[in-house]
C-alpha cells in the first residue's frame, strides 16, 4: 500500500497543539486509506477505531482470531467468547470471520494487513521499534504479539508521546531499549508532530503548536521536511 501524502498542506500548525490523545488518534485515522485491513494495538492505538468512518470500508483485525471486529461491547452485547487482543469485550460486524491463532498470525506475518498501529517506548530514525521491554533488570519479560505485529503489516504506524517522563526524546538515532523489530515503522504520530521514518531518515509531516526548528532543537536528529 502506498501512503499518499498531501504535499500542499501547511507543515507547521502553530494555532493548535500539542495534540490530545484523542486528536492523535484522529490524525492516525485520517491517514488510513479506505478499504484497508488494520490491526490496532492494545492501549492508546485502540482509540483510533473511534475515528474510523463506518463507510470507509476499513476492516479491523484482532490477532486473537477475527476480521470485522466492531466497537467495544456494552450491556447485553457483552459475550465473554468475543474479545479483542486486550481482552476487552467487542462486537462483530457483518462480513466478519473467525479463525484460529496460527491462521491469524499467518495472516499478519504473510503481509496481508495494510496497517498496524502500535505504541512505543522508542522509535529510531530508520524505523526500528522498541515497545516490549524497558530493559529493567527486574522486569518480567512479556512480548505478547508485539514482535509479530511489528513485522506483520505493510505499514506500521506508531502513536506515542514524543518525550519520556524524564524529558528524553523517544524518537532517536538508535534505540537503547531492547528491540521489537528492525526497520519496521513507517510513521510516528506524537502530540507535537507527525514524522515519516525509515529509508532516508526522519521527515516532519506536520507539527502542532511548535515549529520544526524548535523540534530540531529538542531532538538529536536530522529532520527533513515533507515535500522538500
Amino acid at each position: 500500500m502506498t501512503i499518499t501524502v498531501t504535499l500542499d498542506r501547511t507543515i507547521e500548525h502553530l494555532d493548535r497543539g500539542p495534540l490530545t490523545r484523542d486528536e492523535m488518534a484522529q490524525a492516525v485515522a485520517r491517514d488510513i486509506p479506505d478499504g484497508s485491513f488494520v490491526n490496532l494495538g492494545i492501549g492508546q492505538p485502540t482509540q483510533v477505531g473511534d475515528h474510523l468512518s463506518p463507510d470507509s470500508g476499513i476492516v479491523l483485525h484482532t490477532e486473537n482470531g477475527m476480521l470485522g471486529m466492531g466497537p467495544a461491547a456494552t450491556g447485553d452485547d457483552i459475550d465473554t467468547d468475543l474479545t479483542n487482543a486486550g481482552k476487552v469485550p467487542v462486537t462483530e460486524l457483518p462480513g466478519a470471520s473467525y479463525f484460529h491463532h496460527a491462521d491469524s498470525f499467518a495472516m499478519m506475518r504473510g503481509g496481508h494487513l495494510d496497517v498496524c498501529v502500535l505504541g512505543a517506548f522508542q522509535v529510531s530514525e530508520r524505523g526500528d521499534l522498541a515497545n516490549w521491554h524497558t530493559g529493567a533488570p527486574d522486569a518480567i519479560p512479556a512480548v505478547g504479539g508485539a514482535m509479530d505485529l511489528a513485522i506483520g503489516a505493510k505499514d506500521v504506524f506508531v502513536m506515542m508521546s514524543l518525550f519520556a517522563k524524564d524529558g528524553a526524546p523517544k524518537l532517536v538515532r538508535k534505540c537503547t531499549y531492547p528491540l521489537t523489530g528492525l526497520a519496521c515503522v513507517s510513521r510516528v504520530y506524537t502530540e507535537h508532530a507527525t514524522f515519516l521514518v525509515g529509508g532516508s531518515g526522519v521527515t516532519v509531516v506536520e507539527t502542532f503548536g511548535t515549529t520544526v526548528d524548535e523540534l530540531a532543537g529538542r531532538l538529536d536528529l536530522e529532520l527533513g521536511l515533507i515535500g522538500s
Binding site: 496460527a102 499467518a106 514482535m147
Partner: protein, 223 residues
Amino acid sequence: MTLIAQTALEAVEGIKDGSTVLVGGFGMAGMPVALIDALIEQGATDLEVVSNNAGNGDTGLAALLAAGRVRKVICSFPRQSDSYVFDDLYRAGKIELEVVPQGNLAERMRAAGAGIGAFFCPTGVGTPLAEGKETRTIDGRDYVLELPIHGDVALIGAHAGDPMGNLVYRKTARNFGPVMATAAATTIAQVSHIVALGDLDPEVVVTPGIFVDRIVHVAQETP
C-alpha cells in the same frame, strides 16, 4: 477413537509427572478451567505448561502454578495486572520462563502438529528473543530458525463436540484450541455441548476428531 469422559477428572486421567501440557485459551475465552482444576486434583507435577498467559488471579492456571506443579512456563505474555501468582514464583526463582512471540507460539505448535522439523520465521529478527538462534537471509529478507513445540497433552475448551471428537468453537474462543489439538500426543477437550453423531455439519468442523482423544461436557456460562 474419542472417549467421552463422564467427569473432568476422568478426562485428565493418566497425565504423567514431567509432561508438557498445552493449555488453550486467550484470557478466559477458550480457557479449559474445569480441566485445569481436574489436573490439580489429579496430581501430576513437574509440568511444563505452554499457554498464551501464565495465569490470572487465583484460579485456573494460576491455581496450578500456586500448587507448585509447574516447572516451566512457555508463553507470550506472563505479566498481567493480576498475574501475581506467576510473578511471585518467577521472582523467587521457583519457575522457569520462556517468552515466545505470540505468533511464533502458535506457529511452533502448528509445526509440531504438521510434521515440520523447523521453520525460518521473520518475527523477532534482531531482537533479544532471537539471540542464540540460527538466522538466515532468504530472498533478501532475514529469518530466525524456530523449532516445533510438541505437547504430551493438550487441554482445550470448545463449544460443541460429537462422539467422533469433531469440535467447533465460538467466536474468539477458538484461538489456540485448534492448533494445540494438532500438537499434542493426547488432546482433551471440555465442551459446552456434546451433540449426536451427524449433528455437526462436516463443512464447519474446525478440529477434526482425529486430533481429539477425550471430550467431557462442562456447562459454561456462554451459550
